[in-house]
């Protein structure tokens, strides 16, 4: 049924730290690696070694330049995958019932056997979290690694989404955002976790932690101590270069 549940017991999701993400794309690779050989149809590539490669990804990392009114520009790496919205517009538009949000943990999933590949759910998602697989012709999306997080065949440390497990800078955190005592909820409270496109009314479960202000070397007093030593001592070339400069001037 593509009606949304009125309430989910838990809200499993991700907290992504834009302050510590280094933009290495390891989460993109591990996501594709795990999900191409587990839940549902493989994540295909088209023309992978050709001139115009393209493929299905459930997680992509954008990079943005933020230019404050004063001071140096900052680079912010921005991973983006399904936000498992409470008010998921992708679910209600589905004509076949293939898209659904689970009552027990809030994960938004696609039953690929019922997907007719109409693409309407991808239109309804403001975040670009759903991509049609060009080989399987069904809609693919982040499953929050539903086949890892409950998988008792895996060591306990691995029972988190592949992207979280692999992140070398600890920029990705997984947990229950409905529980105010959980580590992810505390992180969101402490760091001012935010929603993406709140005006769209999707009520995303995933939260983003804003980047902290970076060091401002250009505005610091400390730089003045060394500045005299770093200032250029001469504008005129000497020695061989000085001769060459004069010689060329005379030509």
């Amino acid at each position: 049924m593509t009606s949304l549940p009125t309430h989910t017991q838990r809200k499993l999701g991700l907290v992504i730290d834009l302050d510590t993400c280094v933009g290495c794309h390891a989460c993109v690779v591990s996501c594709k690696g795990w999900n191409t050989e587990n839940y549902g149809a493989p994540l295909s590539d088209q023309d992978p070694y050709g001139a115009e490669p393209s493929g299905t990804f459930l997680n992509r990392v954008h990079s943005y330049e933020v230019q404050p009114t004063d001071g140096a520009a900052q680079l912010v790496h921005f991973p983006k995958s399904c936000l498992h919205c409470d008010n998921a517009p992708c679910v209600t538009v589905c004509p076949t019932g293939a898209s659904y949000k689970r009552q027990e943990d809030g994960i938004v999933l696609v039953n690929e056997d019922a997907c007719i590949g109409c693409g309407l759910c991808a239109w309804a998602c403001p975040y670009g979290a759903r991509e049609m697989d060009m080989a399987a012709k069904v809609m693919k999306k982040c499953t929050l690694c539903v086949d890892r997080i409950y998988n008792e065949n895996l060591p306990e440390v691995d029972r988190v989404p592949a992207c979280v497990r692999t992140c070398p800078s600890n920029a990705r955190h997984f947990g229950d955002l409905a529980d105010p005592g959980s580590a992810v909820s505390q992180l969101v409270a402490a760091r001012g976790g935010m929603d993406l496109m709140p005006e769209q009314g999707t009520a995303p479960v995933n939260k983003y932690l804003p980047p902290r202000i970076k060091d401002r070397l250009d505005q610091s007093d400390q730089i003045d101590i060394l500045a005299p030593f770093l200032a250029p001592v001469t504008d005129q070339p000497k020695g061989f270069l000085g001769w060459l400069d004069k010689a060329l001037d005379r030509l």
């Binding site: 593509t2 009606s3 393209s54 309407l120 202000i213």
Partner: protein, 290 residues
């Protein structure tokens, strides 16, 4: 949004077909026998042909029957249910008119209502999309319904109604363009709200996730076609609305009527192409495009 030819053909032709069904259903014209057969054949060809065209858009048309199950929540499912109900009711009604020479009036009215319900459901698929501000307006279903009724009246030979409804549809088309050009700014969705980085400063897309294109960019970020949007709007409005009205105002002949229909359909196809090509999806903001 990517202007898929199958969807443009579907929405235009089925809109006309269901419009013709409406006028046949309420008995305007109330002809029977061979004349009725020609009218119903045109309506079924347009509406049914449009539905088949839309099936080409699906990745798995063989699972299409499942699309009739989610009418409680999905406008696409409602459209499928209403379309098939219309075809079934009008099929029965057509048998009476063509072969038995009788008009089952209540059945005709039911079919007429279902036909316009189908057009409403089609329009609502687009009007419900908060992600495409240009579409999310009450004017979208108003435009689709007036076009269906106006085009249907044109095909049904209801000259007076066609004149009135085409003028109304033309006015709605202008209003829709006017509000659509302002809708993205009015939606308040910007790169700042998309990334949450607005408080830190001016945001610029520095690097996309991959060097190549992807499904999202192909399907939802269509920037090529807008170059000639203004010229196309003038052509669409001239052929779709102005010329048919002029042709209907001069004394009626079948040649002029046929020319009015051809001009109307060509204009509406152009307008429908713009409907998609000019529609900007908010996901483009993540790529620094619109």
């Amino acid at each position: 949004m990517h202007p898929a030819p199958s969807i443009i053909a579907f929405t235009t032709l089925s809109g006309l077909g269901f419009g013709l069904f409406f006028w046949l259903g309420i008995g305007m014209p109330g002809s029977t026998g061979m004349v009725a057969f020609v009218f119903f054949a045109i309506a079924f060809a347009l509406a049914g042909g449009g539905l088949i065209a839309s099936a080409f858009h699906l990745g798995h048309p063989e699972r299409g029957l499942l699309a009739f199950t989610q009418w409680r929540s999905s406008w696409l499912s409602r459209e499928a249910v209403l379309a098939v109900a219309t075809l079934a009711v009008m099929g029965l009604y057509a048998i009476g008119r063509i072969f038995l020479g009788t008009t089952w009036v209540p059945l005709g009215w039911l079919g007429a209502a279902l036909a316009q319900g189908t057009v409403l459901a089609t329009a609502m698929i687009y009007a419900q999309m908060k992600t495409v501000p240009r579409w999310r307006s009450i004017l979208t279903p108003a435009l689709f319904l007036s076009l269906s009724l106006g085009g249907g009246a044109l095909l049904a030979g209801q000259v007076t109604w066609a004149l009135i409804l085409l003028v109304v549809a033309g006015a709605l088309q202008l209003a829709w363009w006017w509000q659509g050009d302002r809708a993205f700014a009015a939606s308040c969705t910007t790169m700042a709200s998309a990334t949450g980085l607005g408080a830190a400063g001016q945001i610029r897309a520095f690097e996309p996730p991959h060097t190549g294109p992807n499904y999202l960019l192909r399907e939802m970020v269509h920037v090529i076609g807008r170059k000639h949007a203004r010229k196309l709007r003038i052509m669409a409005f001239g052929m779709g609305y102005v010329l048919p009205v002029v042709l209907l105002l001069i004394p009626f002949s079948h040649v002029m009527g046929a020319l009015a229909v051809i001009s109307h359909v060509a204009g509406i196809l152009a307008a429908r192409w713009l409907f998609f090509a000019e529609a900007e999806h908010v996901v483009g903001l993540y790529y620094g495009k619109r």
